[in-house]
Structures are given as C-alpha cells and as structure tokens.
Subunit: 123 residues, 2 copies
Amino acid sequence: MVGGSQLMQAEAGEGYEVFHTDCPARDVVDHVTSRWGIWVLISLRSKDLRFYELRESIQGISEKMLAQTLRTLVEDGLVWRRVEPTTPPQVTYGLTEFGRDIGEPLAELFDRITRRLSSRGAG
Amino acid sequence: MVGGSQLMQAEAGEGYEVFHTDCPARDVVDHVTSRWGIWVLISLRSKDLRFYELRESIQGISEKMLAQTLRTLVEDGLVWRRVEPTTPPQVTYGLTEFGRDIGEPLAELFDRITRRLSSRGAG
DNA sequence: CAGGATCCTATCCGATACTG
DNA sequence: CAGTATCGGATAGGATCCTG
C-alpha cells in the first residue's frame, strides 16, 4: 500500500511530490535513463536496426552493455526483438508502441539540451 | 570540431544517428538522467525547495548524493542556489529557465511511464 | 540546517575469450 | 553475426562522523 501514491502527496503534503523507492515507474525510468538506454531508444526511433548497426550507431558502447541494455528494454516492453534464422543469423530490434511513446520526450530532451548548448556556444 | 555533428550522420550514413563520445550534450544528458538528477529536477518543477525538503521529497536519496547531484545541476546551469545567511542557514534551490525547459520532457517521460504502468496494472 | 570528509561496498562496465 | 561467461578495474553511492 505504499507504491503508486506519490502523486497524491502534492495535495496532502506541503506541495511537493514524494518519490517512493518502490514506485513501479521508477525502475522503468531508471532503465530508460540508464547510461545507454536513452541512446538505444533514440537510435531506434528513426528505423529498426540490427545488433551491429546499433553498436556502430552508439559510439563507445560495448557489446556486453548493448546486449544487456537491449535485454532490459525488451523485458520492459519498450523494444521488440526479431530473430531471422539465417546463416549468419540476423537479429533486428525496434520500438514497441510503448517505446515510441517514451521515445518522444526522450528525443525532445536531447534536442532541447543540444539546442541550448549550441546556441550558448554560437552566441 | 568533432562535437555536434552527429545529427548530420542521419543523412550522410545509412539513416541512423551516431552518438559521439565527445558530444557536449552527452555530458548534460548524463547528468540530467543520472540516478537522482531526474527526481531533483521533477521535484523542483512545482516549487522551489530547501535542502531538507528535497531530501524528504526524494525517498532513498542520501545527503551526499543530493548535495553532489545539486552541485552538478547548478554547474550545468539547470538549477540555481540561494543562501540565506540566517541561523540556522537556509539554502533554497530552484529551476533556471534552462532547467524548466529540460524539466518538461522529463516530467512528460515520467507521466507517460506512470500512465502506461498503471493502465497495464488496472486493466 | 546544510553540507564536507572519509571509508567502504555494490555495481557498472570494458576487455577478453568462447559459443551457436 | 549475435551473442554469453568470466574477470578485474573504475566508479557510483550509502553510512557515518564532523563542521559552520
């Protein structure tokens, strides 16, 4: 009876929200905003990508972290995974509806930061 | 001369973006999406808060991490810090214009995840 | 009240080697 | 190609104690 009530605190308390440790959304937020999660999601927004394409797209990511990040995002229902049983095997990743939904504010976040930084550097 | 060019790759390359390690926005993104950064920013959206209010608002955060997160966000220009030289001293934090700008997609991200999770749990 | 300093541990994450 | 398994260094982050 503790989870999911943090939004009510704004009215009950002094006007600020309380973020519970066991808030279910917190795990997903942590995964989405993990070191590599945000870049995977943003990369997949333009088009579905194969494993090696993602690895080359996201500079600095290791195969281990890419695999781990993808596994988490698939578990969370943000990314789907399709295996083509060819030789060599092809595995493609793409965004689910949930993933596309989440990808929007993520891309917006990235855009706003980029815009602010470039305008600061230019002017 | 290397940073800020990753957005061009979508046209030059195979249609997906490349995220450079030295992209200047990446540092800010990392700070904003750090373990506690997102919660601090969202908490400050409703109103300015003092140190202890933030600590109580964000369940599970330690004083060390709150101080460290706030320092980083102030350095990035997302949060301002005002010291009242009273006894005991009062320190208030709030969002700068940049911080409010970034806070929007952040709150939207949190809202969408919360909505999706609660609707999934309810029906 | 608002933190800095210190210590210590959990985990993150890269490198390497190996598998289907 | 698309991973898994293991190891070890780096770092994030909590607990505690101390200061203005």
